[in-house]
């Protein structure tokens, strides 16, 4: 049996992932987090008189704190496996990725373990986020002055 024939055999016996269901679930969970964020921003603006720009910064800090705490208490990984990508994509996912890596390497030394592995997953987000930020900034200057 050659590789192509084997690939067909494997596909035949591999159960299909419920992609539509997972995507819908991720849409609902991600959307719910966005809704929750908006509620917090509105509360900060109306009840505490915080400016909109600052309210979003406070929200970001708040979400990162909550997600990191939930990761370190061991809840987040179970929820991710149920809620799929909806929990990973927003800011919660970024916080979760650094906290989970930090937890893995906390006993391997502050520099050689935790420090060097902290951005193991999030490093790509940072690098390409900064690079694309730079290019869009340049484009912004060119087209909008």
């Amino acid at each position: 049996m050659n590789k192509d024939e084997y690939k067909k055999l494997v596909e035949e016996y591999t159960p299909k992932e419920k992609k539509l269901k997972n995507a819908f679930l991720a849409f609902l969970v991600g959307g719910a987090i966005g809704f929750f964020g908006q509620v917090i921003v509105t509360i900060l603006e109306t009840s505490f008189g915080v400016e909109t720009k600052d309210a979003y910064i406070w929200l970001c800090i708040f979400i990162i704190l909550i997600a990191s705490l939930l990761t370190s208490f061991g809840f987040f990984d179970n929820w991710v496996s149920k809620c799929k990508a909806g929990l990973i994509l927003p800011t919660t996912g970024f916080a979760h990725s650094v906290t989970s890596a930090a937890l893995d390497y906390r006993k391997d030394g502050l520099i050689t373990g935790l420090g060097s592995n902290f951005f193991k997953l999030a490093g790509s987000v940072l690098l390409y986020g900064i690079i694309s930020g730079f290019f869009f900034g340049v484009l912004g200057v060119i087209f909008y002055g």
């Binding site: 084997y6 055999l9 591999t14 992932e17 987040f76 989970s100 893995d104």
Partner: protein, 326 residues
């Protein structure tokens, strides 16, 4: 030819330790069960070292054996440079060999020990295997608490350790023959579908074993594969049927049988070198039948570096046959 009929090598006893998920699974009477993945140590890796030492001590104490009574200790695990085995062995004054063929390491250790023992008149040897779900996750996949969504084909690395005492004294379980496997790569690239990666290697060693020792599949009461998982086991049987025209009726996969279907977190079943000996010694050999068993340990030889370099995954399987007297 990589097969050999052995004359008088016996498995005298085995000592098993199982982890928190395994004790909730299909088998309830392991020698020791642990509830804590740290096992009173600081890290998962150190816990696995302790697990190996506990099973070695367990079997030495049960049979009143001194270090000097053991000629050789052969161990294998999934950690980098099989360092768990080496660190565990550092406590014993016993000659040591480390073996690695991923989840086929248990069968590899059995066949290496058997081959070395074959020419001796009197000998005791220990074969040790362990795996730890969380140290393996850290080694091969994402950080543990990350909990990345997994496909249904994923297998769950079993936590446990098993120490087997091989002797030349006659006992109920005879190590009858072995076949060393060949590395097979049929182009799979998905490390979360290891059953598909390993099935062709398992089939190859099965066919080699039957041809080289001139046996038929019906000579065995049970063909027990290591950790193909429930999906991989189906692929294995179908592959053997289509590629070699052989129908297997007497097949079980330890990985598929170790957990209950209700344990959803285990997906397609158990993986890890320890799943085969855990199931073999705590379930199969405690039953009256089967009498003739062919063990096929299956290992996916992938490595995170080569996965990132998009190479296809090679796999290996080794076979050892056992004869059980009632």
């Amino acid at each position: 030819m990589a097969s050999k009929k052995l004359t008088n090598i016996y498995i005298k006893d085995a000592f098993s330790l199982a982890g928190p998920v395994e004790k909730e699974g299909a088998i309830k009477d392991y020698d020791i069960v642990i509830d804590d993945y740290y096992y009173h140590t600081k890290t998962f890796e150190q816990a696995e070292i302790k697990m190996q030492q506990v099973v070695i001590d367990g079997i030495l104490q049960r049979h009143n054996l001194l270090h000097s009574d053991i000629d050789l200790l052969i161990s294998g695990d999934l950690s980098n440079q099989i360092s768990v085995s080496s660190y565990a062995a550092s406590r014993y004054n016993i000659p040591f060999l480390g073996v690695y063929s991923a989840c086929a390491s248990f069968v590899e250790s059995l066949l290496v020990a058997s081959e070395i023992m074959e020419g001796k008149r009197k000998s005791n040897m220990l074969c040790v295997t362990s795996s730890h779900n969380l140290s393996a996750e850290k080694q091969f996949r994402f950080p543990i608490e990350y909990g990345a969504p997994k496909p249904n084909t994923t297998t769950f690395t079993a936590t446990g350790a098993v120490c087997v005492l091989l002797t030349k004294e006659e006992s109920k379980i005879k190590v009858d023959s072995y076949t060393v496997g060949t590395v097979v790569d049929l182009g799979c690239t998905d490390a979360s579908h290891m059953g598909a990666v390993m099935a062709p290697a398992a089939a190859k060693v099965l066919i080699d074993h039957l041809l080289e020792l001139n046996r038929k599949i019906d000579d065995y009461d049970l063909i027990l594969t290591g950790d193909l998982g429930c999906i991989g086991a189906k692929i294995f049987r179908e592959y053997v049927n289509r590629a070699y025209g052989l129908k297997i009726k007497n097949h079980l996969d330890a990985g598929c049988e170790l957990y209950l279907k209700s344990q959803e977190e285990t997906y397609a079943g158990a993986s890890g070198p320890v799943s085969l000996p855990l199931y073999l010694f705590n379930k199969v050999l405690k039953q009256k039948r089967p009498k003739k068993i062919l063990l096929i340990g299956t290992g996916s030889l992938h490595n995170p570096f080569f996965m990132n370099q998009k190479l296809t995954i090679p796999a290996i399987a080794h076979a050892v046959s056992l004869e059980v007297k009632s």
